[in-house]
Symmetry: C2
Subunit: 267 residues, 2 copies
């Protein structure tokens, strides 16, 4: 048994979709979430900058005595995971790409899949590499969707602008005959209804968050690291007190949480 | 005469629209530009965070021996100017709001004006205050346009999504009968064609950049601080090497510049 908390982090508030799944799958675990709301978004920035920001956050989470960390951000997972596990060899680190890759392989029937994400995630090629390593004959089509994060942050998740934007980004994938699309950014589940309207019911949408939470659960079970006292408390830290955190907490987690502000640049 | 450079800074690349005007109005001056591309955007962040980031940038610019600074960012101008002049009393600091206020007062005939900008700029009330102080009977209507910056960064400046977004943001101002709208964000001139389509030819669009450059020129002339050797060199620094800088430099300044990366968090 290990009663220390699980740490999660994201560039901003998108990672709360992962917190939600962890709350469902591991309701007794304590969680500590860090959202980098002062420097959000990561998706338009370079690998070097994303890695540096992620290292600062992990150093911060380690001061909170976490037992494991989930990178609840596709951009940081795809650009910085390999580097982060080398830099922090003593803490188990999980990312969201592997779960997305496995779910997508399970879901496709025609072996033509689409990956959508930020520019940095798509540029990294992490999803393609993960899929090709497991099943080389799957055809992978990708398209970055840089406006999805600001649309989700603005709350324009199901209006005409969102629909036209989604159509512009997703039509090229549909023209390639994909039967599965991975929502390769933790913000994108917020736009799921709009994305579904564009792609129709024949295309499966994969959200890596749930499978990532399940992976963490199996890890804790296997290593006898589950929390035994089960208070399931949630603590939130941000680098800036922006409105998006409050709005999304209420919307996703159905609860008002007060986040503590942290000067992350000091770590 | 003072041959030291003028410093300019912005949250990212929007401030290059101000650099362009300074190049026109003060072609012989050396300029040093800093774009905070690692932490862009500022418009959705708090006053406290924007002020902290701006202080770091001014400390960096001071190491480059600048003779004056232009805050080429409406969010930092409106949220942090007062604090910055107190923190750095020895360097002349210019902001973009005053020029926008004065141009807008000159332009309006019916004394009904609109201000568009980021959430942080609109929330600050800086434009309204500036206008009311000079001409209390002007009616000011405001609307934040958070999607304009990501649209400009994506290069979607004149398509259907941009048009519908502009319509959604600008229709409330038009319904209030404004005859003048201030483009209260240095990115917005990039969307000028699309904004013009929505507002029509009867509404004057005010871009504070040119008037700000003129203010700087008058200041240097009055104080005998113009550059006498006139090489007009431009130096660019960024906090992250993102593509947006290269793209916008070529588009706006018609030239390829190589920006040097700086670890701004150290300042």
């Amino acid at each position: 048994m290990d009663n220390r908390p699980i740490g999660l982090f994201d560039s901003g508030v998108g990672g709360l979709t992962v917190v939600k799944q962890v709350m469902k799958v591991l309701p007794n675990e304590k969680t500590i979430y860090f959202g980098d709301t002062a420097r959000v978004p990561y998706g338009s920035k370079t690998k070097e900058t994303v890695t540096k920001f992620s290292e600062q956050i992990i150093r911060f989470l380690l001061t909170k005595d976490v037992k494991a960390i989930i990178i609840a951000c596709n951009t940081a997972s795809s650009n910085s995971y390999d580097s982060l596990v080398r830099t922090f060899p003593d803490i188990p680190i999980f990312e969201v790409i592997t779960a997305g890759v496995e779910s997508c392989i399970d879901a496709t029937k025609n072996k033509r899949v689409g990956i959508i994400g930020t520019q940095a995630t798509v540029r990294s090629g992490a999803y393609e590499l993960g899929i090709k390593q497991r099943m080389p004959d799957i055809r992978v089509f990708t398209n970055p969707c840089p406006l999805f994060v600001p649309l989700a942050e603005e709350g324009w998740t199901d209006n005409e602008v969102a629909y036209l934007t989604a159509k512009s980004y997703l039509d090229p994938l549909l023209e390639n005959g994909v039967d599965t699309i991975v929502l390769g950014c933790t913000h994108y589940p917020l736009l799921k209804r709009c994305i579904s309207k564009v792609v129709g019911t024949d295309v499966t949408l994969v959200d890596p968050a749930k499978a990532t939470a399940m992976k963490m659960r199996r890890f804790l079970e296997t290593n006898d690291m589950l929390n035994s006292d089960g208070d399931g408390s949630r603590t939130f830290y941000v680098s800036d007190h922006t409105q998006s955190f409050d709005t999304l907490c209420e919307r996703l987690l159905k609860q008002h949480y007060i986040a503590e502000k942290t000067d992350i640049e000091k770590y």
